[in-house]
């Protein structure tokens, strides 16, 4: 094990590591642009120059010491790049010496010579590595009076990414990402010197399913999202942690929100799930949360759905369930809903309604899955729903039998939680034949909503707290990113500056707090009306009960899940170790 000294502190390194890796694992930050822990080392930005040296030795091999008995270090006359210099035992590194700082300032000056400095119109401003370093590691003025050179701007690379050649600092992170991670090797540098820019190979388009990750790793604003461009300044959004619900991988994400609308989604590092990446589908799959939402419970009167309040809707459920026998009702749980909601639905069906008829729909799309992140199971929580008993057993009806059961009049009432029959369209026709259809839905324009007798507006993942179990059985906890009327008390202060401090008569604060609730809350209301006497105050109460009753979750708490990047089912005794997560550049909290 080599031991090295960085700025006088002793660190233990693994053989073969580079200086920057050792520093980053020990929470030291050596300035850098092109290095990224997941990409190969390019060593082309020269921002990470440091002084490297070894102790001077006497002719007999012993280490020379000075008057204070400290070893005399012989520093190399030239600085070395920390990202490509492997450590060796006894190495001394200085990252903050006068020469190192001078080199950093010089590199910054070179980078800024031709940089357009158009931060006011750049989406990266506020979370830009170049901006940050210009503040920390540069002189703060320019000695360059000549005209800056011009390069192609607003170049469309693919369906989701736009390139601005002038802002690019030629770090090659995007090129390496395309080649090494996305496996679509279509980007390359052309020209040389200050004319260098990036081009696509002729006739190609940067259209791989992971293309938008280059936007995050680009240290400057050279790569922007076609979907997001100019929607908001980064400091006007709140970023709260969540889990992508696009497929069973469950990539960790941050949701950028302003005026209670999702404006963009970014990956959040999780070494055991998605590393630092996510797919474009997951990133762009948020419209249904913003638009066309159900905002209050509804009841069918005649052939129209009328808005009503929660008490009325719950009363109506209880009333209309009365004439229906327990074995005539079927519950459809959901792989899209949280573990907590599924658990409570199962409990409700078994203990309150006394029926075993509970099953869920699978949503598989073989064309979607690949060998990197995307899974063909397009729901976030199929495993979790199964573990808590939300799928059929040999003694109960299966969802595939549903059309026959309805035709034969065996099932007269259907309770569908957070799912629809778009993958099972023949069911839509038969829904007219049943007596009672109760649904928890997100959207008004949903076909099932249109057919339902009683509709409860359900919170989407972005408004919920709960857990999902991903394709590898990892239980991951997430919290809300949007404000609802129900969570206003604790979410209010987690919103962005403007959303937090707007008054009722400010125009920008005229957005709606949707009156949606998480499915388990809705089920609890109905159960209590039927005399269950449940008292779950928050998702955590439900989860703690699950952790007590089910072996798979034994010993898990939200806190444990948060600290260990999620825990694999049944492994709460020995969760995966906590390792550092790299943050290239991000919005600094104010």
């Amino acid at each position: 094990m080599p031991h090295i000294y960085i700025d006088g502190r002793l660190f233990e390194a693994k053989p073969g590591q580079t200086i920057i890796q050792v520093a980053y694992e020990n929470n030291l930050n050596i300035p850098h642009f092109c290095w990224h822990p997941e990409l190969s080392v390019a060593g082309n930005c020269r921002m990470c120059l440091v002084e490297v040296g070894f102790p001077k030795r006497n002719p007999d091999g012993s280490i020379q010491v000075d008057a204070d008995n400290r070893p005399v270090i012989n520093y190399f006359p030239k600085l070395q790049i920390a990202c490509a210099t492997e450590v060796s035992d006894g190495m001394h590194v200085r990252t903050k010496s006068e020469r190192a700082i001078k080199a950093q300032e010089a590199v910054m000056e070179f980078l800024l010579i031709n940089h357009p400095l158009d931060c006011p119109i750049c989406d990266e401003a506020g979370q830009c590595k170049l901006q940050e370093y210009a503040f920390k590691h540069s002189r703060g003025f320019s000695r360059f009076d000549e005209e800056k050179n011009h390069k192609p701007k607003r170049v469309i690379w693919g369906p989701n990414v736009i390139f601005d050649g002038e802002r690019c600092i030629s770090c090659s992170r995007c090129i390496r990402f395309a080649k090494e991670i996305a496996k679509q090797d279509v980007l390359t540098f052309v020209q040389r010197g200050d004319r260098v820019t990036i081009e696509l190979h002729p006739g190609t388009s940067f259209d791989n399913p992971y293309s938008m990750n280059v936007i995050d790793i680009c240290p400057v604003g050279a790569l922007t999202s076609r979907d997001f461009r100019f929607k908001s300044r980064v400091w006007d959004m709140s970023f709260n942690d969540s889990i992508c619900e696009g497929c069973a991988r469950g990539c960790n994400i941050k949701i950028g929100v302003r005026q209670n609308q999702i404006l963009r989604i970014e990956p959040r590092g999780n070494p055991y799930v998605n590393r630092y990446w996510m797919c474009d589908y997951g990133r762009l799959h948020y419209q249904y949360v913003n638009e066309n939402r159900l905002t209050s419970p509804m009841i069918r009167i005649g052939d129209k759905l009328e808005k009503t309040n929660w008490t009325e809707a719950v009363n109506s459920v209880v009333e209309r369930l009365k004439p229906i026998q327990p074995n005539e009702i079927m519950f459809v749980a959901s792989a899209k809903a949280t573990v907590e909601s599924n658990y409570l639905l199962v409990k409700f069906a078994k203990e309150i309604i006394h029926t075993k008829n509970i099953d869920l729909l699978e949503h598989f799309d073989e064309t979607f899955g690949d060998d990197f992140l995307r899974c063909s199971d397009k729901t976030p929580n199929l495993r979790g729903a199964r573990i808590v008993g939300a799928s059929s057993t040999s003694h109960s009806y299966r969802i595939s039998q549903l059309p026959d059961l309805i035709r034969e009049g065996m099932v007269k009432a259907l309770y569908v939680m957070e799912d629809d029959f778009d993958d099972f369209p023949e069911l839509y026709e038969l829904l007219d034949e049943i007596d009672l259809l109760i649904v928890h839905q997100y959207n008004l324009n949903n076909k099932l909503t249109q057919k339902a007798d009683i509709v409860f507006p359900a919170a989407t993942y972005a408004e919920s707290e709960g857990t999902y179990v991903n394709v590898d059985g990892r239980v991951q906890h997430f919290k809300p990113a949007l404000v609802t009327r129900n969570n206003l008390r604790f979410m209010g202060m987690k919103m962005s500056r403007l959303d937090k401090f707007g008054a009722f008569n400010d125009r920008w604060s005229q957005f709606e707090y949707r009156d949606v609730r998480q499915s388990w809350e809705i089920i609890q209301m109905i159960a209590n009306k039927l005399g269950a006497g449940w008292n779950y105050r928050k998702s955590e109460d439900v989860f703690n009960e699950i952790a007590q009753h089910l072996n798979e979750f034994k010993g898990m708490t939200y806190q444990l899940l948060d600290t260990h990047f999620g825990v694999v089912v049944g492994k709460s005794k020995n969760p995966d170790p906590v390792v550092p997560v790299y943050e290239s550049h991000y919005m600094k909290p104010d």
Partner: protein, 165 residues
């Protein structure tokens, strides 16, 4: 012992204590003013034109090629009163973005001039407009139609800024 010294009474001279001569003196001053030139302005017939250093209502500069603002949102960020709301959008112009919506809530604005100071484009400046009357809250929120002012009307302020900012 608590004795109060140097009271007003002790400071007065004999003649002042007599009172009447002082009354006459005061009336004399009033009388003198009546024959001096008048300062009163017959507003609104007679209007006051402030100098370039005056900080009236903030406005957006409209120069020959259109509005200068690039919707960077810095004014909105710096505004201590949260008076400014900007929504950016993309244009074909060289500067890529423009404010799709720009609103200043004059009920919030405190005329501090920070927005003008922070603007990288010299696009928002404090005008000489001090007549801000509205009869309801909605009218207090000024949109782009009311904010954009042709540059020739703002010359005084722009010169002042170039000299002193």
């Amino acid at each position: 012992m608590n004795r109060i010294e140097n009271t007003e009474h002790q400071r007065l001279t004999f003649w002042e204590k007599l009172y009447l001569p002082e009354i006459a003196k005061g009336l004399g001053i009033t009388l003198r003013q009546m024959f001096k030139p008048k300062f009163t302005r017959q507003y609104p017939e007679e209007r006051w034109e402030p100098t370039g250093s005056y900080r009236g209502r903030p406005v957006l500069v409209l120069d020959e090629d259109g509005e200068r603002c690039v919707a960077c949102g810095l004014c909105s960020r710096v505004c201590p009163a949260l008076a400014i709301e900007v929504q950016a959008a993309e244009t074909e112009r060289e500067k890529e973005r423009y404010p799709e919506k720009f609103e200043i809530n004059m009920l919030r604005c405190i005329f501090c001039g920070f927005c003008e100071e922070v603007c990288p484009e010299e696009a928002i400046v404090m005008s000489k407009d001090y007549e801000l009357v509205f009869t309801n809250r909605e009218d207090g929120i000024l949109g782009k139609d009311k904010l954009l002012v042709p540059i020739h009307k703002l010359q005084d302020r722009l010169e002042f800024l170039r000299e002193y900012k």
